[in-house]
């Protein structure tokens, strides 16, 4: 009976009886122990996360930020294009009219009085960033949404999203 070869990768198993050196098992033990001891001096793969952080890619899409302009006024005009672009429907906002005397706070007459992103819904695709006509929303490449115990903690309001004033000036 001839064996039909389907591939040329077939390897015939060798079933030779063990030699004496193989039978006494000690050389094999020593070999294994030399391998394990070499690992004692190898670089550890672990990154101790909170103290040590993995370097992020330039194009990493992390936590969102609502940018201010060069004078420190919020760029967002609550047009709602980001919410429309969002495939996960994570963004919601309420628009308001800018009052007299608030020119330093908001760049245009309309602004978002409430701006919320649900980080549990967000898939960090970055479509909001692409949709924004005012260059107001960006995904940072060095921050991630941290873990929390409560679901409520993952709904990020303006308090956590808007760029701090000092950071914008710098």
């Amino acid at each position: 009976m001839s064996v039909v070869k389907l591939t040329d990768r077939i390897k015939v198993m060798e079933r030779k009886p063990m030699t004496f050196m193989e039978k006494i098992y000690i050389p094999a033990i020593l070999k294994g122990m030399s391998i394990t001891i070499s690992h004692l001096f190898k670089k550890k793969a672990t990154i101790s996360y909170p103290e040590e952080q993995r370097p992020m890619s330039e194009v990493f899409r992390g936590l969102h930020i609502l940018k201010r302009d060069e004078k420190g006024a919020e760029r967002c005009t609550a047009c709602g294009l980001c919410a429309l672009a969002c495939p996960a429907e994570a963004i919601s906002m309420t628009a308001s009219e800018r009052k007299r005397g608030e020119e330093g706070l908001y760049r245009e007459e309309k602004y978002a009085s409430v701006y919320e992103i649900n980080m549990l819904r967000c898939i960090f695709c970055g479509l909001c960033e692409e949709a924004c006509p005012k260059a107001a929303i960006f995904l940072q490449n060095d921050k991630m949404a941290p873990a929390s115990y409560e679901r409520e903690d993952f709904i990020y309001g303006k308090d956590r999203l808007v760029e701090p004033f000092l950071q914008a000036k710098a």
Binding site: I26, I29, G32, M33, I35, T36, I37, H39, L40, K42, K43, K44, A45, T46, S48
Partner: protein, 340 residues
């Protein structure tokens, strides 16, 4: 009178030291396991995780103490205690250093130098298996019982080969006192060079006697849940795990004493007696002990567990005949040296 006080202090120190070393062996085990697997190991409790054993101990103390309804209450409580006591008793005959002079009288750094020290160790070690057996039996659990039975048969099988491998050594030293055996190995006259086969057999048996991998069948997690300590919780489990590390410490000490010259080291033996010599000798002894503890762990994280039939095969059909051959060779050499 002062001699008794000194002895009591010395024994307490050895007692505390055994517990302390066992405590930090658990830390070392986890750290070494981690390092051999390219991990970091415990590093949260204290600097480098050095308080980890303390945290583990506290955790074990505060865990719920559970006794199964159908367990034999008294035996269930006795098992861990018995195991712990026998583990701690063995250190009594191990010489940790040369004699020191206190008030003009020599004071031995050994709890007692009985002339049947080796037999004493073997006796206490064989008693140790009762702790496992009682605990496993009293749990009234099939996994525990299987683990206990395995422990008993394994210890009996390997004690034979262990005893036979020691006979060749005793034939050379013609003494059962550990102190004598150590003092005969001063300089480079370590027994391991004269009895390499005996050492190998003893080493393998030591692994089996302490229930360490690759012979940890009594607590084989993959087959028996937790083996003999499946039903134990809280500090009773802690005692079992802890006593295992004490056993490992004692085994390392016995290995160092019998085969690696104990507290002797070339160079130190020829020094002037004094504080420095004593300190160095004790340091050397503990260096050797720590090396063997490391060796135990190194082997554990390298070799897979033996199958039960392989274990019995190795014990009865390989180690015992080898030990007998070793005795015959030793006897022949001794006779040849005596000039027949």
């Amino acid at each position: 009178m002062s001699w008794i006080i000194l002895k009591i202090i010395f024994i307490s120190v050895i007692f505390g030291l055994s517990l302390f070393i066992a405590m930090y062996s658990t830390y070392a085990e986890r750290k070494i396991a981690a390092f051999l697997q390219d991990r970091l190991g415990p590093n949260r409790a204290g600097p480098f995780g050095l308080l980890q054993p303390l945290a583990d101990g506290v955790k074990l103390f505060f865990k719920e103490e559970f006794i199964p309804m159908k367990a034999d209450r008294w035996l269930f409580l006795m098992g861990p205690g018995f195991f712990m006591i026998t583990a701690l008793m063995t250190s009594a005959v191990i010489p940790f250093g040369p004699d020191i002079i206190v008030d003009g009288k020599p004071f031995s750094l050994q709890a007692t130098d009985i002339n049947v020290g080796l037999l004493y160790i073997f006796g206490v070690v064989s008693l140790g298996v009762y702790g496992i057996l009682i605990g496993g039996w009293a749990s009234n659990n099939k996994f525990s019982l299987l683990g206990a039975i395995r422990a008993a048969s394994q210890n009996i099988s390997y004690e034979l080969a262990m005893g036979l491998s020691i006979i060749a050594l005793v034939m050379m030293s013609s003494s059962l006192s550990l102190k004598d055996i150590v003092d005969q190995q001063a300089g480079w006259h370590w027994n391991v060079f004269y009895q390499p086969l005996g050492f190998l057999i003893f080493l393998v048996c030591a692994f089996a006697e302490t229930n360490r991998a690759p012979f940890d069948l009594p607590e084989c997690e993959t087959e028996l849940v937790g083996g003999y300590h499946t039903e134990f919780s809280s500090m009773k489990l802690g005692f079992y795990l802890f006593a295992e590390y004490i056993n490992m410490f004692i085994s390392s000490a016995v290995l160092a004493t019998l085969f690696f010259g104990g507290y002797h080291f070339p160079g130190i033996s020829s020094m002037e007696p004094g504080i420095l010599k004593t300190a160095l000798s004790v340091g050397v002894m503990f260096g050797k002990i720590f090396f063997f503890i490391f060796f135990f762990m190194w082997v554990r994280w390298t070799l897979p567990r033996f199958r039960y039939d392989q274990l019995m095969n190795l014990g009865w059909r390989i180690l015992i005949p080898l030990a007998v051959i070793n005795i015959l060779i030793t006897g022949a050499v001794i006779l040849y040296k005596m000039g027949l």
